[in-house]
């Protein structure tokens, strides 16, 4: 199995994540779609590491995982804070800055 097919799978997963971000309204589902896109990028990194024959791609994927974990913690806390004040987890609701 050539690493090329892994990269193509990563592209497909990234596209699915993009559809999720563009189409879904629930903030948590949008957030999970972003996680899917980060994971797709990680899969591409791992496949590239194997293609190039050095481990730096895996190290970068590890850093992506750490940053994604930090991002999830802060993002979910923001969602909870917004839910407390607006009683809604829909991304169409927070329109305070609109008018």
């Amino acid at each position: 199995m050539s690493p090329e097919s892994y990269v193509i799978l990563a592209a497909v997963l990234f596209t699915i994540g993009t559809v999720g971000v563009l189409v879904r309204r629930n903030a948590i589902v949008v957030f999970m779609s972003i996680e899917l896109m980060l994971n797709a990028a990680n899969l591409a990194f791992v496949a590239f590491a194997r293609m190039q024959g050095n481990l730096e791609g895996q190290v970068i994927a590890f850093f992506v995982m750490v940053v994604a974990a930090a991002e999830v913690v802060v993002g979910l806390a923001i969602i909870v804070a917004i839910y407390r004040s607006r009683r809604s987890a829909s991304i169409d609701e927070p329109n305070l800055l609109k008018y």
Binding site: E4, S5, L9, V19, M32, V73, A77, R84, A89
Partner: protein, 279 residues
């Protein structure tokens, strides 16, 4: 045939896990309830972990399982519990045609991406990680060598980022109490003054055949007491339908009680008597 064995096995692993991962991704964007989406994403994460293992990255595969399926997805599920399981998507489109345009753009982007990758990478020889993994005695040792050597500064900055994120989550999730805590006396006085529900809510109906909390209690006239079912179940519309046999039994009991009329001796104190039987 020594070469065909591992590569055929890897192809099998790739196709099974690729199909599972794409299924999980599609389930994420197609399920109506956020909890189902979270479970589909967990499936995708696990298949990606297996794909990392197949790609000579055992350390990353384990980290993927521990960090993503173990920590991140469970955090998502906890937040779903806080935010409310019943918060499904609204179907009202605030921007007209946004859904169609979004899907079209994303599919076009995906086709572009796959075609570009296919043409750019076709025929590029794969070096393989066997030499790089063997250099320091294994995959974990090689990654440790890079992390604590070349990437030490980035590693320490990332550690600072993690601590900052934990503090930020504490600050964001913290709720300042603006008014003093209400005592039990004040709460009960408020409840009596508002007058809608002074006594505790009725318990869910428990029949001989169901003892789950989604079974509503029956009022004496055989109608359903909706407040006896917990609120989240009511919001999701998960009331168990009342079976006719139970209602008929209730009616028999009620008519038996009515036929008794003002009894000379109390029936409730007599366990041996069937209440439906007229005397």
């Amino acid at each position: 045939m020594t070469e065909a064995g591992p590569s055929a096995a890897e192809a099998a692993v790739f196709w099974v896990c690729a199909v599972l991962a794409v299924t999980g991704g599609l389930g994420l964007i197609l399920s109506r309830r956020a909890v189902h989406s979270a479970l589909w994403v967990a499936l995708t994460m696990i298949s990606l972990a297996v794909l990392y293992l197949a790609n000579a990255a055992p350390f990353l595969g384990m980290v993927q399982i521990i960090v993503y399926t173990g920590a991140v997805m469970m955090l998502f599920l906890f937040v779903l519990m806080v935010v409310g399981v019943d918060s499904s998507d609204s179907l009202v489109e605030t921007l007209r045609g946004q859904r169609v345009v979004g899907i079209l753009l994303a599919v076009g982007f995906g086709i572009l991406l796959v075609l570009a990758i296919g043409t750019a990478l076709s025929g590029v020889p794969a070096v393989g990680l066997d030499a790089a993994n063997a250099e320091y005695g294994g995959n974990v040792e090689g990654i440790a060598r890079l992390l604590f050597g070349e990437y030490l500064l980035a590693f320490e900055i990332v550690a600072g980022l993690l601590i900052t994120a934990a503090l930020g989550a504490l600050v964001l999730a913290h709720r300042e109490r603006w008014q003093p805590r209400r005592t039990q006396r004040q709460l009960s006085e408020e409840r009596v003054r508002s007058g809608d529900q002074m006594v505790p809510l009725p318990a869910p109906g428990v029949y001989a055949r169901h003892n789950a909390v989604d079974t509503p209690a029956l009022l004496p006239d055989g109608s359903v007491a909706e407040i006896s079912v917990p609120g989240p179940l009511r919001a999701r519309g998960d009331l168990r339908p009342v079976d006719a046999a139970a209602v008929a039994e209730t009616e028999v009991l009620a008519s038996g009680r009515a036929a008794l009329g003002p009894a000379d001796h109390p029936v409730a104190d007599d366990p041996g008597t069937s209440p439906g039987e007229p005397r």
